[in-house]
Amino acid sequence: MPAARRFELIVNGEPRSLEVEPRTLLVQALRDGLGLTGTHVGCDTSQCGACTVLVDGRAMKSCTMLAVQAEDADVTTIEGLAKDGVLHPIQRAFVEHHGLQCGFCTPGMILTASDLLTREPDPDDATIRRAIRGNFCRCTGYQSIVDSVREAATTLREGNAA
């Protein structure tokens, strides 16, 4: 059995240390190692996007990444978005526009939206739909998610302008 590896990374702005076998997936390390269970395992085959986290600002599927590949990286999970008990504008938009029903896909959906809005502050609906293509929702039919992301984009642009 290969020896466990110990390494540092940043998770939600805090320096953390992990000790894992090389084969450990990032999602397992986040959930079982750090107790961050907001990152969900849906399909476990890189299809559904429920396990999406930000690695150095970019959306990635944590079920298709080894934890050791995140050594020294800056990882953001859904737990890292709200600040001082105040929801992030993307989270608030999902609440206000019925962007979720059961909520299982929501953490991944929101983190993918975060990557999109970092690159494209004013996306049209086709751009939003293309961005969330790797995130499956079995409740909403997607329209309310697209509405939520569009609304979050507006809020974030206004925030940046202010």
Binding site: M1, P2, R5, E21, P22, R23, T24, L25, Q28, D44, T45, S46, Q47, G49, T52, R58, A59, M60, K61, T64, M65, L66, V68, Q69, E71, T112, D115, L116, R130, A131, I132, R133, G134, N135
Partner: protein, 268 residues
């Protein structure tokens, strides 16, 4: 699903990586978007993963005659590279933009995908149509292999044990234009049939298809693509029987050619 137990090393130089890859059953790990899924299914069980992900092997560079793509360049980087925003190389960015999804494009690499050689992956068709060459390195040797010589069968390439793709070299042909078109499987995103085309001002055209046979292949240059496909050995499965897939391949080949020709006209 969890991969079987495996060692992991992260070499700090290409030389160290090539040395590590020489050990039996070693596998290079780049973005992991092809390798990790098959390791999780335990179809692939390497003894050691040589994590090349942090080596300086990425980037898009133009020199006088060629476009040079580092093996670790991600789909996302190719999709948005300004160097590819010109008709001769447009198929590369166009193809990168329809691979997988945002998360996969953020992490998946050119070299990793070519080495994996899924018979339905997109970029091999573009590499064939554009006449790309792959630079393959081992600790003691470097060689260059054409895309045509590289793809041998499903998940089978000309890579020798211990060999690593470090770079892909695409000849620049001024005045030419290229395009990629596909009909994808709606769930997996893989090509049910995909086609890349390059047209040149002298009337020459190159068309390559993927998702159609045991490996992506170039259609004969002097034959109409539809005639060539009528003769080709086409693969059928529960999603697309042989004759349907042949039909779709003809449609995407025609679309890619038309789009490439339009790009060439617009540039004049």
């Amino acid at each position: 699903m969890i991969p079987a137990a495996v060692e992991h090393v992260r070499p700090s130089s290409l030389a160290e990586a090539l040395e590590a890859l020489a050990s039996p059953d070693a596998k290079a790990l780049a973005g992991g978007q092809s390798l990790l899924p098959v390791m999780k299914l335990r179809i692939v069980r390497p003894s050691v993963l040589v994590d090349i992900g942090r080596l300086e092997l990425s980037g898009v560079h133009m020199d006088e005659n060629d476009l040079r793509l580092g093996a670790l360049t991600t789909w996302d980087e190719l999709e948005s590279a300004p160097e590819l925003d010109r008709p001769p190389l447009a198929a590369i960015a166009e193809c990168a933009s329809v691979i997988g999804d945002l998360q996969v494009r953020n992490r998946g690499t050119l070299g990793g995908s070519l080495a994996h050689a899924d018979p339905a992956s997109d970029m091999p068709a573009v590499m064939l149509a554009l006449g790309a060459r792959l630079i393959l390195r081992t600790a003691g040797n470097e060689r260059s292999v054409s895309a045509e010589e590289f793809f041998l069968g499903p998940f089978t390439t000309a890579l020798a044990p211990g060999e690593l793709i470090t770079e892909v070299v695409v000849p620049r042909i001024d005045g030419s234009a290229s395009a990629y078109a596909k009909v994808e499987h709606p769930a997996s995103g893989f090509a049910l049939a995909g086609a890349a085309a390059r047209v040149s001002p002298d009337g020459k055209q190159r068309v390559a298809v993927t998702g159609v046979g045991a490996h992506p292949f170039l259609l004969p240059a002097d034959t109409d693509p539809l005639d060539a496909l009528a003769e080709a050995e086409v693969y059928g499965d529960r999603f697309a029987p042989v004759e349907y897939r042949r039909h779709v391949a003809g449609i995407v080949a025609t679309r890619a050619l038309e789009r490439a020709r339009r790009r060439m006209e617009e540039e004049r």
